[in-house]
Symmetry: C2
């Protein structure tokens, strides 16, 4: 097996970063940085829409991004507007609330709106941003229904803007390496994927309290806002990994809701769900996601070997190995790598790669919908 060592990997990208273990400025996978760039010195101006936990992470990554900058904000909370304005030195004219947001149409200082609002609000703000002529990145899950995804894709297409979904792991070296190992059949065809991602969101020793164990965003427990539970938030990563490790789409799913250990907390959305996906050619994927404990791994068994990441899908540092040995890959800031990847493509007036666009988000939403149906009915659902 020809594995990419950190050194090889860095050299391949043409970046002279020596032996630094942590590479915060790793360029995107999409536009090799040694290519002549028509946009030298220019940065994509981004407005972050929704100033919650993830909005803060995006803002932080934008401070060191090579191709993007934080130019504006959209928030329903005046106090947050004031705080961000001061913290990031944002021009007053680039600050919007949910009411006056559409005026962004006339603001030439904003190129792209990054929607980090609760899931069910992605649709509205993506469509409004598109109608205002702005490119859009929306966080995953792209929306809370297949229908909404389709409307968002159409709105962006009609407006001639690009629509990306926040699939940060497509800019993360470990995940792109297991994608390569699987899709290039380095160990032969993949037969089994085990992908599980769970996050402990409450103190499991106090199951009668509804207080958050950590500040994961209370809206995630609200069906109206989140669209669903752990599957929408975390399980989507397992669906993604199972798909990109193979480069295949599932043909059928079965699923089981897990136990509800904290019924007061999980009145509206699932705490735990397991599901199985069948792929063309016979491979299967077993996945579990939960808000009740920690687990973060992807494991793949192929004909002549195995490969795995653990941790695999959280913000890192990620770690992985194959049946031939440890992976030695750069540790990157996921949000920055993603922003640089998307930014450089849009600045170059190129089309975003299909695997991070709205069409990709729609594929996942189709699968999520099938998984919920399978869990609800106890039946195998053909896709």
């Amino acid at each position: 097996m020809k594995s990419i060592s950190r050194r090889n990997f860095v050299n391949k990208l043409g970046v002279g970063l020596g032996s630094a273990a942590v590479l915060n400025a790793l360029p995107s996978f999409i536009v090799p940085p040694d290519e002549a760039l028509p946009y030298e010195g220019k940065k994509l101006n981004i407005a972050v829409c929704g100033l919650g936990i993830y909005g803060n992470l995006v803002a932080k990554a934008l401070q060191t991004s090579q191709y993007c900058t934080l130019a504006g904000i959209v928030t329903g909370t005046p106090a947050k507007a004031k705080e961000w304005k001061a913290k990031y030195n944002i021009a007053e004219k680039n600050i919007y609330n949910y009411t006056n947001f559409d005026k962004i149409l006339s603001n030439k200082d904003i190129d792209l709106v990054y929607v980090t609002l609760p899931n069910s609000m992605h649709k509205e703000f993506t469509i409004r941003a598109a109608k205002a002529g702005k490119h859009v990145i929306t966080e995953k899950p792209m929306a809370t229904s297949v229908e909404d995804c389709k409307e968002m894709i159409k709105a962006c297409s009609d407006a001639g803007v690009q629509l990306a979904v926040g699939y940060r792991l497509h800019y993360e070296p470990h995940n792109m390496e297991i994608k390569r190992l699987g899709q290039d059949k380095v160990f032969g065809p993949v037969r089994l994927v085990e992908a599980s991602f769970a996050y402990k969101t409450y103190d499991t020793s106090k199951i009668n309290e509804t207080i958050d164990f950590n500040d994961h965003g209370k809206w995630r427990l609200n069906k109206e806002l989140a669209g669903g539970g752990a599957l929408m938030d975390l399980g989507i990563y397992c669906i993604q990994a199972s798909r990109y490790v193979q480069g295949l789409e599932p043909v059928a799913v079965t699923a089981q809701f897990g136990p509800v250990n904290n019924p007061k907390r999980f009145e509206q959305v699932e705490e735990t769900i397991s599901w199985q996906m069948e792929f063309p050619g016979g491979a299967i994927a077993n996945c579990t996601t939960s808000y009740g404990y920690f687990i973060d791994r992807v494991y793949a068994s192929a004909d002549s070997g195995t490969f795995e990441l653990s941790p695999a899908m959280s913000y890192g540092p990620l770690k992985g190995k194959t049946s031939k040995g440890e992976l030695d890959l750069p540790i990157v800031n996921h949000q920055q790598a993603q922003l640089d990847g998307i930014g450089s493509v849009i600045l170059a007036n190129k089309k975003l790669p299909a695997h991070i666009t709205g069409e990709e988000g729609l594929k996942d939403m189709n699968i999520i919908t099938a998984i919920y149906e399978a869990a609800r009915t106890g039946k195998r659902v053909v896709l």
Copy 2:
């Protein structure tokens, strides 16, 4: 976390083995070797019944066993009788075929019969051995039906002999450590177990050939002899691990037959099967077993940490880690550790521990039966 280091582990058992990495003579978990043994110098005389691959492994382990010795054989193949007689210096009077086997009743030189025949033959030879007054170890799965397990237990009970099932991993330090970590709730209660064990039994690039990729025992493809496919042979380890990691019995199962990549080879038994087990208190286990690829791991996520073995269930050397670091445990010969464990107990006229007896085999067979029913019907089966 208080992990058992190799040194601690060895000291705990009172064996001065220094820093040797491979301990072939590690005594059983059941009778501490520093206890005064009433049987000093005596060995349990064992007859191996069924001289296939596993019979050979048992015979080899018996050569170095502290408490057991290879005294006799039972075989339907005269050539094998001749070969084993010469190789292991077995007395002619201790050699039986399937017809004259019952005469073992009058043979005081045989204490125990170790049945390593194909699965569906375990019942007949266990019952005949019991009626001849011999203790029995039968390989797993104990039989091919719940009814057969019950008959075997009754026959041994009626005859006043002990019945063990070949659960070698109950004598294996890594597996006993994850049992301890789970049952003692070292990381809090276990919420999720992922246990998968698969073995590549044919050349997957030549799916139209039925020739064995490796000599795994062709009888395993015969429904009549094996009772089932990968679940009977390998999946049982995943059921075991899911149970002993928690010290709990599953309350319901769902299951899915996997794809048949080699229909000619798997005409009678399943190539791949996945199943999910629900446990009291809310934990779940996701398992897959297959004859089509390699996978060998147990992973458990508990409230405050994780622990895993990989490889976990094959003959070793096994390897494991927890969220706090690598496990450092002795590497043992599984068959020898098991034989010494069982031998020392029987020599001491003590009762075998419940978790390796026929009752344990019956529990697994109940679960296996439910898994097949769930896979066949597509329905959740309550245990």
